[in-house]
């Protein structure tokens, strides 16, 4: 997908907004997280010194008796060297199985981003500019651009959904601990099925898109937020509250998905609002609508049995 991007890069450049490099507050453009190590170590050092002064006598005696035996010295040294070796092995090979560096991008969020993104998920109607900003060909970290997808909100929302489902079932005396695992497994299975179905349709329609799998998981995970809202309202106000809030969240997620996916799946011209004729573009439009329409259906399917 990136080679196709490079080939089409010159034609697509005017539409990608380049953030000027000298932007205040962004620091090193490739640094995802703020460096707080020096401040932290100073703070902790002071704390530890103050704590240490209070407990010298208590710490000295049990430590002295434990380390007197030379065998335990050797055992401790051997054990710690084994642990260090194992840790080194894992660190070297972890990147082969889980793309850790790519995942870190999706978790580079801060409180303001989360707040604004949640607001956008519940009310996407006034937001004008949906394009992700780029900086030197890499997308900007989520904390600097509200349109960028992140994995923090979907992950937290998924866990909250499982807990809220347990709560809802508990109020109806239908709770047992394995139900939590069943709900989590069910939601994950639907998510996997959605991702596979969408990837398959994107392959069949031969769309040249820079929508990665993790991006797709992030976008599909945003519906859990609406589901949590619906179930909580259903717990507080009964079926009427559940249907009202779920209906509102369904429409919002529908609009959100259409506006976000339009930029990723449709051709450049169509994304800017100019209707482009042609069977290929029509097919892409249908695909976007189908993906967006599947969200409210799944939101209802995964929550209706929780609210009585």
């Amino acid at each position: 997908m990136h080679s196709a991007d490079a080939a089409a890069g010159t034609a697509r450049q005017p539409s990608k907004r380049r953030v000027p490099v000298s932007q205040p507050g962004m620091g090193d453009p490739h640094q995802l997280f703020d460096d707080t190590s020096s401040a932290q170590s100073r703070g902790y050092g002071a704390q530890r010194a103050a704590g240490g002064l209070g407990y010298p006598a208590a710490a000295a005696s049990p430590q002295a008796t434990f380390l007197d035996d030379p065998m335990s010295n050797v055992a401790m040294a051997y054990g710690s060297s084994l642990a260090a070796h194992g840790k080194e092995l894992v660190d070297k090979n972890i990147n082969r199985f889980i793309p850790v560096t790519k995942l870190k991008y999706y978790f580079a969020v801060d409180t303001m981003y989360v707040g604004r993104k949640l607001g956008l998920l519940f009310f996407p109607y006034l937001h004008q500019d949906w394009e992700v900003q780029y900086q030197q060909d890499t997308p900007v970290a989520p904390r600097f651009d509200i349109n960028a997808p992140d994995l923090y909100i979907p992950a937290m929302a998924f866990i909250t959904y499982v807990l809220v489902a347990g709560l809802a079932l508990g109020t109806q005396d239908r709770f047992s601990p394995d139900i939590l695992g069943l709900q989590a497994s069910s939601a994950l299975a639907w998510l996997t099925l959605e991702v596979v179905a969408i990837l398959l349709s994107l392959y069949l329609v031969t769309v040249n898109t820079d929508l990665t799998t993790i991006d797709l998981v992030a976008f599909l995970g945003y519906k859990y937020v609406g589901m949590i809202g619906g179930v909580l309202m259903g717990l507080l106000f009964g079926k009427i509250g559940y249907y009202l809030v779920l209906g509102w969240c369904c429409v919002s997620i529908f609009v959100f998905m259409i506006r976000t996916l339009r930029l990723k799946i449709l051709a450049e011209a169509a994304a800017e609002g100019v209707p482009v004729r042609g069977a290929r573009n029509q097919l892409r439009m249908y695909l976007t609508m189908a993906v967006a329409a599947a969200q409210p259906l799944l939101m209802y399917w995964l929550t209706f049995h929780l609210v009585r």
């Binding site: 069943l182 497994s185 069910s186 994950l188 299975a189 639907w190 996997t192 099925l193 392959y203 069949l204 329609v205 031969t206 290929r280």
Partner: protein, 82 residues
């Protein structure tokens, strides 16, 4: 009754098996889905049908060997544990 990850695994195994079973000569050629029947021009983008045919052929090639192993394991486990 609920749709769990395990049932998704079972369903995907069955679907992959079904796709890998579609025999090129005996079946696909007869319904016009053989891989030497649908190649379009070089310049234009491949249509859905040719993408599908390519997909079936690739699945058949890639999945055949591991599928035998996975199916044997599944048979043994299902015989033992029901």
């Amino acid at each position: 009754m609920t749709f769990t990850l395990y049932s998704l695994l079972q369903a995907s195994l069955l679907c992959l098996n079904a796709t890998a079973l579609l025999h090129e000569e005996r079946y696909l050629k007869n319904i016009g889905w053989g891989t030497d029947q649908g190649i379009g021009g070089f310049g234009e983008k491949p249509g859905i049908k040719s993408q599908l045919m390519n997909l079936i052929r690739s699945v058949r090639t890639v999945v055949r060997m591991p599928l035998i192993i996975v199916k044997s394991i599944a048979i043994v486990l299902l015989l033992l544990f029901g």
